[in-house]
Symmetry: C2
């Protein structure tokens, strides 16, 4: 990586921590200069605006969060167990980018405001939804998940309850809400999602 | 109400809309002057700082939201039906204060930041929790809700999943996530919360 690329990457990762904690409106160019140790000119050499830095910083923070939540998922064969592992990853693995979930933070700040950041959050939400839905769809095909389960509705339930519990857990500085929602989702996955008949054996 | 009190109240309600949409960091004194049509001096005659306006504006927005969510709850006799009505109110009734749920907005913005706003959000969350918990506790006492149900865990589940679904619904500008979570909570309340034996008749 060239020195210029390294600097650019460093700006993005420092900005990700800053924006994820303080929000887009709450982070000034002066904050960004302090976080990166660069002069304004040094930042504008790589980016045209605060918004451009924030958009790339969001993508970076979201990629880090996604990697953590998807961690080791491929090693779990059964689709229901894979959904449970996803939930456990969300509850147990904290991102090195501080400030909580980039999607929740950006969605709540941008829902009435900045269209560029709002679009970024929407794309992230849809990507996440489709990852979870495809696990369910494949589980139905393999006979591990009941035919009547809606992949879309199940994804919405998982995303909604985890994001809401994260809001509470961060406000209360306790994992209790996340643990409670994890227990509820696990019960639901066992009682209403996992197929009652034994799954088709791999040929 | 005196003219001074009326002006103060008008500042609070205009500020509530502004802060709930744009956030604390995203709302400047200039925005507040524009929203209220007052000069800076006219605002500082009633409040000592932007933070003081924001704290009162939060309390106002939260009171409006709580009144809507609690609407008509007293007219529902059975505790499980009362919880279902609460969920329906959350999904169906939109506050006249625009910008979504004041608790979600303030919690997400203040969890790493402003301690005054963070404390405000924490108090609101606890009040909400205790309102829901007391419905469940009374339902257990009356035999309408199963003894094994934890009032605290049930409140956490309801708050988490509704707040997370609200984030999605506002981002997608569609009620689908809220409707999906409402259906899930109603199923859960019928299948796992409502007492199987008929409730004790009122004496």
């Amino acid at each position: 990586m060239s020195k210029g690329n390294k600097t650019r990457q460093r700006i993005v990762s420092e900005a990700a921590a800053l924006f994820n904690k303080q929000g887009f409106a709450g982070s000034s160019m002066a904050d960004l200069m302090e976080a990166t140790g660069l002069e304004k000119g040094g930042i504008y050499r790589h980016f045209s605006s605060k918004e451009e830095v924030a958009a790339e910083a969001f993508d970076y923070a979201w990629q880090v969060a996604t990697d953590l939540r998807m961690h080791d998922l491929d090693s779990v064969a059964n689709s229901v167990d894979r959904l449970k592992r996803f939930v456990a990853n969300f509850v147990e693995r904290r991102s090195p980018v501080p400030g909580g979930c980039p999607l929740l933070n950006t969605a709540v700040e941008a829902d009435d405001g900045n269209p560029v950041m709002r679009e970024r959050a929407r794309t992230a939400l849809r990507q996440w939804h489709s990852q979870l839905s495809s696990i369910t769809t494949s589980g139905i095909r393999k006979g591990e998940i009941r035919k009547g389960v809606s992949p879309k509705k199940l994804a919405t339930l998982i995303v909604s309850s985890l994001e809401g519990a994260l809001m509470i857990s961060r406000l209360e500085r306790s994992n209790e809400a996340l643990r409670g929602v994890q227990a509820h989702l696990n019960d639901h996955l066992e009682a209403e999602v996992r197929s009652r008949k034994s799954p088709r054996k791999p040929s």
